[in-house]
Amino acid sequence: MAWGTPEPVALPATGANSIHVRGAHVSFDAGGGRSGPLFDNLEAEFSAGMFTCILGSSGVGKSSLLRLIAGLPPRRGTASGVVTDGDGQSLTGRIVYMDQRDLLLPWMTVLDNVLLGARLRGEPRQRGRALGLLQAVGLSGWEDARPEVLSGGMRQRAALARTLMEDRPFVLMDEPFQAVDAITRLVLQDLSARLLAGRTVVLVTHDPIEALRLGHHVQVLAGSPARLDPPVAPPGVPPRDPADPALVGLYRVLIARLQQAAK
């Protein structure tokens, strides 16, 4: 099969746990008259139970799209649009959000950070499950430590454990592994692919290798106002080996598309 010319896949966006974005209008306002539309009537569908990686350059609106899906107001500017699951229901309360910064609360222990969602909702804290997840991300024995003594990679592992603890069908990840070193990034990507399998994950990144490693579908977000390209489906099962020759052709295509968009 010639992967140099990827076939756009038809989106099987059916199923209750798919994400549908309709009529999204987002405008940014950077102050001083610098404002404009990021999205103009953007439509998007993300398949149920799959990793969709959205690839785009900085400032194209990747984070804005995730914030819109998460129901968070834009940092600056305005946003509107309808976000539902496959049955037309709101996603509220069924989402977990992971940022490129670990966002661990410095006054809480690692364990209490993992249990933050339960504490906020006044639910019973499942200590045992939290400890199990900390073990799964390689942080056994650190549960009583405060985040300040952890390295950047360990902090992001703790953030991943907190994300997994929420146990939500919809997972939104905003360049989650951007701030960690290359080896830690590989480990965290593997962990995510394994531990989030079966959930509807939308991961935005500016790294084509990350997108090719993790995405069942990869979509480029480009233009002003931004549009989503039709998804491509890399061969094989995530997490893929980035050195796989089958991915090289796709990598070139994605880079060419990003370069074209940057012009």
């Binding site: 940022d99 966002l103 933050l116």
Partner: protein
């Protein structure tokens, strides 16, 4: 907390961490005070100034040792006024800051009160407070409370408004319960700012108590100073002043120590020569 890994070996732990900087600060303060006392003694010797204008430190010490009960009893009154003022002022200040930060109508109605409370010269209120609350401790406690309220409320409110937006995003996706977010994220995140306000409050608390005592009272170090001044007992006046300074220092360092202990996660980056 158990120590983990190689990350915190250079950091003093346990008692050393809490006592270390505090003790060293107190030691430095004592050295400075000792130097000032010697300078003072030298001025008295050199100028031969009359003891009823400026008594030598030795004379003040003798005056202190002559009436320790009198001074300490009155110091206890002033200390009680300060501590009650800190308690009420701290509580009211913190409570208004939370209300203003968390409840929109409270912001519209309480914010002007907060600003007006600072625009009124509190010292000018002292005679009115004595008229209303009498010559006893109540008027001094109210005075100290008023003076402490603003720095606490202003600093805590500032902290409550500066919560890391990412933490709030995270919490908003996890729950729709705004009060739970205030309680779990906003308030703990603002505690270092509240601590700054309380440190300022500790420094201004003696002012409130003593001004109240000057306007009208039958006890307290302010009363002692006024009384001694009227009888030209300058040495006793200075002894009262020294006692008040010691009281103010002890209050400040005790509060500072308590706050450090209560907020061990607070990022501390003291001015460091290595960064210059």
């Amino acid at each position: 907390m158990t120590t983990h890994g190689p990350f915190d070996v250079t950091r003093p732990r346990g008692m050393a961490r809490w006592w270390g900087p505090g003790l060293r600060n107190i030691g430095r303060a004592l050295v400075t005070i000792g130097g000032l006392l010697m300078l003072w003694q030298a001025v008295v010797w050199a100028t031969g100034v009359a003891p009823y204008i400026l008594p030598a430190p030795r004379v003040v010490a003798i005056a202190w040792l002559g009436r320790p009960d009198y001074l300490l009893t009155n110091a206890a009154v002033t200390a009680a006024e300060m501590l009650l003022g800190l308690l009420f002022g701290g509580f009211l200040g913190a409570a208004s800051a939370i209300l203003i930060a968390a409840v929109a109508p409270a912001r519209r109605w309480l914010m002007p009160v907060l600003i007006v409370s600072q625009a009124i010269p509190v010292f000018a209120l002292a005679p009115v407070l004595v008229l209303w609350f009498g010559y006893g401790m109540a008027s001094k406690v109210v005075m100290a409370t008023l003076i402490i309220y603003f720095p606490v409320a202003a600093a805590f409110l500032d902290g409550l408004r500066r919560t890391e937006p990412g933490w709030l995003d995270l919490a908003h996706v996890m729950t729709r319960d705004r009060w739970a977010i205030v309680r779990t994220v906003r308030i703990p995140a603002a505690l270092p700012a509240l601590a700054s306000g309380l440190r300022v409050a500790a420094a201004v608390a003696p002012i409130g108590a003593v001004i109240g005592e000057w306007v009208g009272s039958g006890a307290g170090l302010g009363f002692v100073m006024l009384h001694a001044n009227g009888r030209a007992q300058t040495d006793l006046m200075f002894a009262a002043l020294a006692t008040l300074s010691a009281l103010a220092l002890v209050t400040y360092f005790a509060i500072d120590w308590g706050l450090r202990r209560a907020l061990p996660w607070q990022p501390e980056s003291p001015p460091d020569d290595r960064h210059l």
